[in-house]
Symmetry: C2
Subunit: 455 residues, 2 copies
């Protein structure tokens, strides 16, 4: 509990940017999914690394839990302060500090959103491609090891964060990584931090890898009668080495939701949304080859969108699919699943999941990043109906067990948070205790986002 004296002390460290106003607490106690409102005791708005360090020092001295908050777009309750304490909102640390054109990297504060970064980069010929759909903050994306539609070509946050500044549990400021493109200098602390969901430190600065804006981009949508051949077409494409920039799968239910929400008129069949980018010549070659593959697997003809506005419309539709699906049922909240399997097992995993959902009273359209073997069933529930939440969790558990049985993981990109902790032992076995040992070593008082990830 934060005493009034401590509140005053913390507030002075932050020059008054610490609040207990109900609206602020409630706003930071919400999540995008079905978790109940969990307001923290106070919300801090630091503006500098030194403020974050001073805040942590005080919280460390007084055993106050601290939970980081970027844009609040995580899906597993990562930002909920379930043991109370302070939520640190990084929205005021939102500056792009240095763009290094020649080295194709950028140094940013954690509150910069991916869209804001790409606006700043527009005239440089460079871009930051990782795209989880939501306009998440880069600090948050690093902390959940986010990925999304472009991971098939550009990788996840694991591949695109090259260095960090982090404030540790006791307020120590450390730097991990460097601006070199590779290093063999000891343990990879950057990779350890990425995906740690704020349980090992608070990120106060990120060095990110940038990529060249492609000369040409071509996107398209195509329908299949069945999901199996759609996935097989994608496997064949990967195997011949065609570098897809995005390759997304939507089942017929998802397509129906998108049609209703965005006014499109796609046939109610499984679809692939695909994008190629590169030089004019390379894209043209890739589009032709992909067209042949899709034809061989019985897919429909494509309409290729090469104009930026058409592509934007297409990917906006895809990014709004989550909201489109939520809109299928008034007042519904979502239990969002997120398994990832070896791509050879993807058709089986999706088909068996679809059967489970069909046999259940709940609706759960399926869509995902088929090039990574990662998909989501968006299970629609009445958040006040415990039986429905229980049923959704049962379905989610079946999916997770299936993922593990097939050599995959319980979460491809959403992370653990509150939603998946009980499954960690099933995925990691004895390695889960290893994570616990690392957490205990770096945060012995367990004040950094306590209750998340580790035993």
């Amino acid at each position: 509990m934060i005493s009034d004296t401590l509140f005053t002390e913390l507030s002075s460290v932050l020059e008054g940017r610490l609040t207990r106003s109900k609206s602020d607490l409630d706003q930071h106690g919400q999540s995008e999914t079905w978790f109940p409102l969990t307001p923290p005791e106070a919300v801090a708005y630091p503006e500098t690394t030194e403020e974050v360090a001073a805040l942590m020092k005080l919280c460390h001295a007084h055993d106050i839990p601290v939970t980081g908050f970027g844009a609040g777009t995580s899906l597993e309750g990562q930002t909920l302060a379930i043991h109370g304490g302070i939520v640190v909102d990084f929205s005021r640390m939102n500056r792009v500090l240095r763009i290094n054109d020649a080295d194709m990297d950028v140094v940013v504060q954690p509150g910069v959103t991916r869209e804001a970064l790409n606006v700043e980069l527009r005239t440089t010929g460079l871009m930051f491609p990782v795209d989880p759909g939501a306009n998440a903050s880069l600090g948050g994306m690093a902390m959940t090891r986010a990925s999304g539609t472009t991971a098939v070509k550009y990788g996840t946050m694991r591949d695109n964060v090259i260095g960090l500044e982090v404030v540790l549990a006791d307020g120590t400021i450390v730097r991990t990584g460097s601006r070199a493109r590779k290093s063999a200098a000891g343990y990879d602390l950057t990779a350890l931090m990425v995906g740690s969901e704020g349980t090992l430190g608070l990120i106060t600065e990120l060095t990110l890898r940038l990529h060249g804006q492609p000369e040409a981009v071509s996107a398209a949508v195509c329908a299949f009668d069945e999901m199996g051949p759609a996935v097989e077409a994608v496997i064949a494409t990967i195997q011949i080495g065609l570098p897809m920039a995005r390759i997304e799968f939507l089942d017929a239910d998802s397509v129906n939701a998108v049609n209703l929400y965005s006014g499109s008129d796609f046939p109610l069949k499984p679809h692939l949304f695909v994008e190629f980018n590169g030089s004019e010549q390379a894209v043209s070659e890739q589009v032709d080859l992909f067209g042949e593959i899709v034809h061989d697997f019985g897919g429909s003809d494509f309409n290729w969108a090469t104009k930026p506005e058409d592509r934007t419309a297409l990917w906006t539709m895809r990014h709004h699919a989550y909201w489109a699906i939520l809109a299928l049922r008034k007042g519904a909240k979502a239990v969002v699943t997120d398994i990832c399997v070896p791509i050879s097992k993807l058709a089986q995993a999706v088909e068996e999941t679809a059967e489970d959902i069909k046999a259940s009273p709940l609706d759960g359209p399926i869509l995902g990043h088929v090039g990574d073997g990662n998909f989501h069933a968006i299970l629609l529930v009445d958040p006040n109906d415990e039986a429905e939440i229980k049923e959704a969790k049962r379905l989610a558990h079946l999916m997770a067990e299936r993922a593990l049985k097939l050599g995959g993981t319980i979460t491809g990109e959403h992370g653990i948070g509150m939603g998946k902790k009980s499954l960690m032992i099933e995925e990691h076995g004895e390695a889960w205790a290893m994570m616990g040992a690392i957490k205990a070593a770096l945060d012995p008082k367990n004040i950094l986002n306590p209750g998340k990830i580790v035993p």
Copy 2:
């Protein structure tokens, strides 16, 4: 110290595959570079994970240091048992366990060498591209976070190890990662293990990412009058997004050594060795574009080698450059430096290093992986001349400090081992203590490769 009783007990666990023969101890007490002979007390040859686990349990109970050994090709004394105890030689755990074509991954034992793996893969259309030059074991390559000539396109071991089986200090067997292409399920223990040089566990199995064998490959050599324009040509190539498969720099001294050793007759100037791969059409486009760039920066004409035997000859020359340089001085050993800087700083780093070496009595040809900003000066010393070793260390220290000043790292790919530990505090500051805390949490008795990496 290993008592005779303990030796017998350990030996029985390994069905007799534990030896104290002088030749075995000496062979495992050598290194590729200037470090003095450091024989362990015994050498173990396990054949299964269970044997490794049983060995670790016993060593844990008796506080016996354990150091892993793959092919013995590391350059910083990683495999030297400087606190005595047992060296575990993985050469008998050398089976390729499962090739998963559709998922483009492979499961191998740690003693498989990269060349042996690629021989097994030859007919699959797939390959494992990470190529540090030496025919290193894959377990060893993971442990030093190896990279080499192809990292510019395919990344390092960090990017190509997707899962591990590891025996921890107390003999517990854990699995990290999965066969999914990405995961957000907790701390990235795979990345923590990769580059840990055997200080956190012994790798007993690896799951590696494979890549398609390219349809077409084209390699070439070209000369520049100065090093600066050569590096600028490479920067320009990266910036327009041309995907080079390899891009290597050799200074005039290195070229001289290669000529003497391999019988080639390259002009005594700085050279780039380059390779493009992909579809016929893409390679042809890339070769043309690169040719234009090199021409703009004043490089010589290329002779493109498209026949496999010509390319093999070219890369064999490059891979033998280390031996070629050693052969410049009879009886010499090498102090091999390995800094990596942001590529915009590479010309400056190489030029200043060359000046230091010119002003020194030692010879030190320079070569490196210019696409990564990573280069080596091979400092030739008489291993019995302490003054020379001291001078080489002084030069190496200057290089490391320069790398840090320029935003880089003290080692791009060779790792820390014995050679660079004193520089860790300079690179990592407080983050080095974090590494120490992780080590203490996972190996509280400090029996895994003690004396390496951490404080």
